[in-house]
């Protein structure tokens, strides 16, 4: 090569690179290409030497440049250039890379082409081998044809032979028997005429292929028997050839596959039913094949996951399993699968909504009629709600358990077989027994009741038949320390355990202290009653003695008084003229005081009698009683009598004499304290509230100051002086005592100089 122009990008050099690429296509092999290229590139400006390396070797020589032959991931060696003049070489470096890429393309294309050619050669060789085999087989077949025909003539298998037009040349007895014809009805006839009408054309289409291929296998036709029934026949056969290789006749055997076809149809229908069922229910259904990969999911599954069948097939379904459940889920599945055992597991599967929902997946191995393992079928139910309910139930049971255990009362939950299911801490705390020591009701009765356990045990056993809560009453139990406690038991039925055992919850109140307190109260009450009775008797005795004393005092005092009064009057009569005026006045005072004292004694007697007097109760016309009493009081001086306004009064029940005394005292007071008025008015009325009648006696007299009203009804208590208004101070005390004995109340209202009103109540007759 001549000296090159070393200025950048000499056109001839670029032309050389380009031409080399063209020549490469014509070179026969890689060796030739590599030597061609190395020789050509040695003349490249700046290049001293060119070589080819097969692989990416370590390069230590700094002057060496490497250019790989690389097409995509395929590495086909590399070009190594020893560059003597880097400056001269530099402009071509990029072009050389392109060149090497093109070279790699050519090399790869060649390799592919070579591979193709080798494969074609191989294919050709195989075609030739196969052709030789077929020729040999044809020869053998021709040889066996004679045996073939003889064999089928006596065979139990239906045999037929057709000519080139499809007409019967031969059928064997088994054929005639299978289809119900005689030989004369068949020979010479067209095979198509023996087919079901829908299949006549099919034979016309298939027969030329049979003749062309020389063989048929398992070709099915629906054939019509002479009796009109249709049977499905599967035909296997071959063409018989003349010695020159021309078509001579067909040889076919027929197999009645009607039953198999029906079975297949039934299978298809069954499959259809399965799919219909699978897709209409609530269950998510899947099946898996022998490779453990899933090969079917029903529509319910697809709707649930919102994914396509393609996504779910194989192990795709596992993508939807919750990451926390996946390992366990796969372990259960694989373990069961390898053992061919049914399995049931719960796991979370992602729902179309994006939420995970709990499924219960039950898988069962599938087998065919011959017990060959086919894979698995499984169905899943969405048990999210059930799990939530279970969870809620567990929480509820836990709450109940805690409620029992932590209850401040002794509580025990026990089953009819005597097992103590739960006992509260309080039970243990009070009795001193641990839960282990109270594992059964037998343990409890033994420890708590000792010799009485049989009786208590019978009571407890009766509890398991309870339908409602039962109050059992007090039982004395013995604690571990030997102390006795009084427990008041109540029990209630708690339904049944999941295993059917009936349960009862028994609660106790430790009433030891209360019972002691109650006994103490009862003892104190009895003592108090006795003391009251004793005291009452003492008081009654004292009262009687006092009344006897008052009566005797009053009675005994009246005799000397009468003596004093009598002797004063005798003194006035006999010696009045001898005495001066002052002497007569003094005698008058003695006489007046003696009478007043007599009145006092009478009033006191009446008052004290009232305590002892028995009441005679009867219906009383209160209006009439008030009127009579008023008239009685004013009869002596009717002209000075106050105006009397008597409103109709309701009848009352009581002692008539006593109630007359009430009106007499109240009306006398009213007359007395209103006599200083120019128009004295006395008003008697009544009102009725809440079953109680209130009677009132009102006057417009001098009235009284209410701050002293408590004194009104006291014995010998007076608000006015004797000089102002005469009286003993016993009248109102008597009124109060009478009203109290009738079960009523008495009170007064009034203001100084504005009159006074006295009220008293009596129960209405129907309430007494």
């Amino acid at each position: 090569m001549p000296e090159q122009n070393t200025s950048p990008l000499s056109a001839p050099v670029l032309g050389q690179l380009s031409l080399m690429q063209s020549v490469l296509w014509s070179l026969p092999d890689e060796e030739s290409i590599f030597s061609f290229v190395c020789r050509g590139l040695t003349d490249l400006p700046g290049v001293a030497e060119a070589s080819i390396a097969a692989s990416r070797e370590e390069i230590t020589d700094a002057s060496l440049r490497r250019f790989p032959f690389q097409v995509g991931p395929v590495h086909l060696g590399e070009l190594l250039l020893k560059v003597a003049d880097p400056a001269a070489f530099a402009p071509y470096e990029a072009y050389l890379k392109n060149f090497c890429f093109m070279m790699a393309v050519i090399l790869e294309e060649r390799r592919q082409r070579q591979l193709l050619e080798e494969q074609e050669v191989q294919l050709e060789r195989r075609v030739q081998e196969r052709t030789r085999e077929l020729e040999a087989a044809n020869a053998a077949r021709r040889e066996s044809e004679a045996h073939f025909r003889l064999f089928y003539e006596h065979s139990p298998v239906p045999y037929q032979s057709l000519d080139a037009d499809g007409n019967f040349i031969e059928v064997n007895p088994a054929w005639l028997e299978a289809l119900g014809y005689t030989r004369a009805e068949v020979i010479g006839c067209w095979f198509g005429d023996f087919l079901a009408p829908s299949q006549m054309d099919l034979f016309g289409e298939r027969f030329p292929y049979f003749k062309k291929l020389g063989v048929i296998q398992s070709v099915e036709f629906d054939m019509e028997r002479k009796d009109g029934t249709v049977v499905t026949m599967s035909l296997d056969g071959r063409i018989g050839y003349t010695e020159r290789g021309a078509f001579r006749q067909t040889h076919c055997v027929l197999h009645n596959v009607t039953e198999r076809k029906q079975a297949e149809k039934a299978q298809r229908e069954s499959e259809l039913r399965f799919r219909t069922l699978a897709n209409t229910g609530q269950a998510l259904i899947w099946t898996a094949g022998l490779d453990k990969g899933c090969d079917y999911f029903n529509e319910v599954w697809m709707r649930f996951t919102g994914r396509t069948l393609e996504q779910e097939l194989g192990n795709g379904w596992a993508e939807g399993v919750h990451p926390e459940d996946l390992a366990r889920c796969l372990a259960v599945y694989v373990t069961a699968f390898d053992k061919r055992e049914a399995f049931s597991m719960d796991y979370r599967l992602r729902h179309a909504s994006g939420d995970y929902r709990w499924l219960q997946d039950d898988g069962t191995p599938r087998f065919d009629d011959q017990d060959n393992f086919l894979g698995y079928i499984g169905h899943c139910l969405d048990i999210t709600a059930r799990r939530q309910a279970d969870e809620a139930l567990r929480e509820s049971e836990e709450r109940f358990r805690r409620a029992v255990v932590e209850a401040p009362l002794p509580i025990m939950l026990h089953a009819e077989d005597g097992v103590v299911l739960q006992a509260s801490q309080s039970w243990c705390d009070i009795t001193g027994y641990s839960r282990e020591e109270l594992a059964t009701i037998g343990d409890w009765t033994e420890r708590a009741y000792g010799e009485r356990k049989a009786l208590v045990q019978a009571d407890i056993e009766a509890l398991y038949g309870l339908e409602h809560r039962k109050f059992e009453g007090d039982y004395t139990i013995r604690t571990k320390s030997g102390a006795t406690r009084m427990w008041e038991f109540s029990s209630a039925p708690m339904g049944r355990q999941s295993d059917g055992r009936r349960m009862v919850i028994s609660m106790a109140l430790d009433v030891t202290e209360r019972r002691h307190a109650e006994a103490e109260v009862r003892r104190l009450n009895a003592e108090l009653d006795q003391r009251v009775r004793d005291r009452t008797a003492q008081l009654e005795t004292a009262n009687k003695e006092l009344e006897a004393f008052s009566y005797s005092v009053s009675h005994d005092l009246r005799a000397p008084l009468r003596g004093v009064d009598g002797y004063v009057r005798m003194l006035v009569e006999d010696y009045g003229a001898t005495l001066d005026a002052e002497g007569n006045r003094m005698l008058g005072v003695v006489s007046s005081e003696a009478r007043r004292m007599g009145q006092l004694i009478d009033d006191l007697l009446a008052f004290s009698r009232l305590g002892r007097q028995s009441m005679v109760t009867t219906g009383i016309d209160m209006t009439s009683l008030a009127r009579v009493e008023f008239e009685q009081l004013t009869r002596a001086a009717p002209d000075t009598a106050p105006r009397f306004e008597l409103h109709p009064l309701p009848p009352a029940v009581g002692d008539p004499a006593m109630l007359r005394q009430v009106f007499a005292n109240l009306l006398a007071n009213a007359i007395k304290f209103s006599r200083t008025r120019t128009n004295p008015i006395i008003e008697v009325g009544s009102s009725s509230t809440n079953g109680e009648v209130t009677f009132s006696v009102k006057d417009n007299g001098v009235g009284f100051d209410e701050q002293y009203r408590d004194k009104l009804f006291g014995v010998f208590q007076r608000l006015h002086s004797e000089a102002e208004f005469e009286g003993t101070g016993v009248g109102l005390a008597l009124v109060q005592r009478i009203i109290h004995r009738h079960g009523g109340k008495v009170w007064a209202k009034g203001k100084p100089n504005e009159g006074a009103t006295f009220f008293f109540t009596l129960p209405t007759p129907n309430h007494t």
Binding site: P2, G15, S32, G40
Partner: protein, 204 residues
């Protein structure tokens, strides 16, 4: 006949070229070789040029059959001396050696005879076989080819040298390219950028 005054049809290319071009054809396919050879011969004979073919692969019958199909009687053109058909060895390797000087004389003679006999032009197609590499004088092959380029300036015989890429190694093919100003590649005639003018090549 004067050099470079007329253009000729090579038969296998669309383009026409001045008489006396020196072309090498690198082929790797028997059909490609045969196709070029027959078309070159036919176009030469049809143009009335004196035509020679030196190849072991061109059987007389196949050439005659091809020419006959295109209205050219092989026997006739051979009889008249317009067409020479001979084997490679017979022409290039006489006495079991490759003698560049003799071959150059043959070419010179061939051209001078053709001119004298009144042919409008002369052409030669010959296939060099790898045997040359093992014969005495074989190492002078490139020198010979370069000399041919020089000779054709005076004696413008249109020359096509066929090289079977399957028979020569790649480096030799590259060397051969350097001594031919034009080349046929995949059916196209192109100027050869590797060509080293004979004055330079021979000086080295």
């Amino acid at each position: 006949m004067k050099p470079n005054q007329t253009t000729i049809d090579l038969g296998f290319a669309e383009e026409r070229f001045p008489a006396g071009v020196h072309i090498c054809q690198i082929f790797s396919d028997d059909d490609e070789r045969q196709d070029s050879l027959l078309k070159f011969v036919l176009s030469g004979l049809q143009a009335g040029e004196r035509t020679s073919c030196f190849s072991d692969k061109a059987s007389e019958s196949s050439v005659a059959e091809f020419l006959g199909r295109h209205g050219v009687s092989c026997a006739e053109v051979r009889g008249s001396g317009a067409f020479t058909l001979a084997g490679t060895r017979e022409i290039y390797f006489q006495n079991d050696r490759f003698d560049p000087e003799r071959m150059l004389r043959v070419l010179t003679q061939y051209h001078e005879d053709s001119v004298r006999q009144g042919y409008p032009a002369a052409r030669v197609i010959g296939e060099m076989t790898p045997e040359v590499q093992h014969l005495p004088g074989g190492s002078r092959l490139l020198e010979y080819e370069s000399q041919v380029s020089l000779l054709l300036r005076e004696h413008p015989v249109t020359a096509v040298c066929q090289y079977d890429a399957r028979a020569f190694d790649g480096a030799t093919i590259m060397d051969v390219l350097k001594v031919h100003p034009m080349m046929v590649i995949r059916g196209s005639v192109v100027h050869n950028p590797f060509f080293i003018p004979p004055e330079i090549f021979l000086a080295h």
